[in-house]
C-alpha cells in the first residue's frame, strides 16, 4: 500500500515549508501539512492532525506522521489513541528530526517503501550515529 505523510508543526508556515521541500524529491507522494492551531496561532491542533490522517486514509493510503516538537508529538499520540488497533497498523508516528526525516520518509515513499520502511526512514537515525 502506498504511504502518505502528515507533517505536524507548531507553525503553519513551517509545516507548509517542509511539505514543499519534501515534494521536491517526492513528486508523487501525498503530503499533508497540519501546522498551527485551528485559529492560526502557534501550536498544534488535534482536529487538523486528525483530519489530515482521515483524508489520506480515505484516499487508500497508509500514513506516516512526523512532528517538530514534544507537544506536537503529544497531540499525535492523542490522535492515535482514538484509532482502533486495526487502524493503528496503517497509521504510525515516525519519531525523527522533522526536516531531514520528512525528506527521507518522502523519498522512501516515492520509491515504493512500505509504511514500516517510511517510518524507519523518517527517524533518520543514521544522522546521529
Amino acid at each position: 500500500m502506498s504511504v502518505g505523510l502528515v507533517i505536524v508543526s507548531h507553525s503553519a508556515q513551517l509545516a507548509d515549508g517542509v511539505v514543499e521541500l519534501a515534494l521536491q524529491m517526492a513528486h508523487d507522494v501525498q503530503l499533508r501539512a497540519a501546522g498551527g492551531t485551528d485559529d492560526g496561532r502557534i501550536g498544534t491542533s488535534f482536529d487538523k492532525v486528525s483530519a489530515a490522517v482521515t483524508e489520506l486514509r480515505d484516499a487508500g493510503l497508509d500514513v506516516a506522521i512526523l512532528t517538530d516538537l514534544g507537544s506536537a508529538t503529544m497531540t499525535v499520540d492523542a490522535v492515535l489513541e482514538f484509532l482502533d488497533s486495526e487502524e493503528l497498523e496503517h497509521v504510525k508516528f515516525s519519531d525523527g528530526p522533522l526536516v531531514e526525516g520528512a525528506v527521507a520518509a518522502a523519498v522512501t515513499a516515492q520509491v515504493g517503501g512500505d509504511l514500516d520502511a517510511v517510518v524507519a526512514a523518517g527517524r533518520a537515525r543514521e544522522l546521529f550515529e
Binding site: 507548531h10 498551527g36 502557534i42 501550536g43 498544534t44 488535534f46 516538537l69 507537544s71 503529544m74 492523542a78
Partner: protein, 209 residues
C-alpha cells in the same frame, strides 16, 4: 442530603476554573515566558473559554462535563497543555460514572494523573504538572481514608497541589521545553503545576471547601 458531588458541582467547577484562569492569565504567561514558550496562560484561557461556551442544558452528568472539557481542550489549546489536560480530563471522566463520593474523587484525581503520565511520559521531580498532581493524589487518598467528605478530599488535593507547584521552583527541568534551559530553569515555578493547583482549588471551592 448527600455530600456527593453532582452535575451542579461539575458545572460550577469548570466555570470557576475559567474565571480563575482568566484572572491568572498574565501570571501563567509570565511563568511560561521564563522557562517555556510563553503560551500557557493564553492557551488555558482560550481553552476554558471554549469549554464554557459549550456548557449547556444538554449535558446530562458529571461525566458529560468532563468529557466535554477533554475534547474541547484537546482541540483548542494548541500547546502541550491541550493533549495533557485533555487526556487528564478524559481519564478522569472514566472515574465519574455517577455522582462522586470521596472514593470516586480519589479515582478522578488518579485518572487525571495517570492520563498525564501516559501522555507526557514524565515522572516526579522533573518540574512538570506531575509534581502537582502526584502530591494531590496522595493527599486525596489520605483524606479519603480518614473519612473526609468529597469536598474535603478536593481541598486536601488542592492544597497539596499548590504546595507541589511551589516545590517546583528549585527543581531542574528535565522534561519539556524548559529542559533545554538546563540550570537556568532553576528558580522558576513550573506553569503547568501552577495551573493544576488553580484547577484543583476551583474544584474544591465548587464543592464549598
Amino acid at each position: 442530603m448527600t455530600d456527593n458531588l453532582s452535575l451542579a458541582w461539575a458545572l460550577a467547577w469548570i466555570r470557576g476554573a475559567q474565571a480563575t484562569l482568566e484572572e491568572h492569565r498574565m501570571e501563567l504567561i509570565d511563568l511560561d515566558r521564563a522557562i517555556g514558550d510563553g503560551d500557557h496562560g493564553e492557551n488555558m484561557s482560550r481553552g476554558f473559554k471554549a469549554v464554557v461556551a459549550k456548557l449547556d442544558d444538554s449535558i446530562p452528568d458529571v461525566q458529560g462535563v468532563l468529557k466535554l472539557v477533554a475534547s474541547t481542550l484537546m482541540s483548542t489549546v494548541g500547546g502541550a497543555a491541550g493533549p495533557l489536560y485533555g487526556t487528564a480530563f478524559m481519564r478522569a471522566a472514566k472515574a465519574a460514572d455517577s455522582d462522586l463520593d470521596s472514593e470516586k474523587v480519589v479515582a478522578l484525581i488518579a485518572g487525571a494523573l495517570e492520563g498525564i503520565v501516559a501522555r507526557g511520559k514524565a515522572t516526579t521531580n522533573e518540574k512538570t504538572m506531575v509534581d502537582a498532581w502526584t502530591p494531590a493524589l496522595e493527599a486525596a487518598k489520605a483524606a479519603h481514608e480518614s473519612g473526609a467528605t468529597p469536598g474535603q478530599v478536593l481541598r486536601a488535593a488542592a492544597d497539596a497541589a499548590a504546595a507541589g507547584a511551589e516545590a517546583t521552583i528549585p527543581m531542574l527541568a528535565t522534561k519539556g521545553r524548559a529542559s533545554y534551559l538546563g540550570e537556568r530553569s532553576i528558580g522558576h515555578k513550573d506553569p503547568g503545576s501552577t495551573s493544576t493547583a488553580y484547577l484543583l482549588d476551583e474544584a474544591a471551592k465548587a464543592a464549598g471547601a
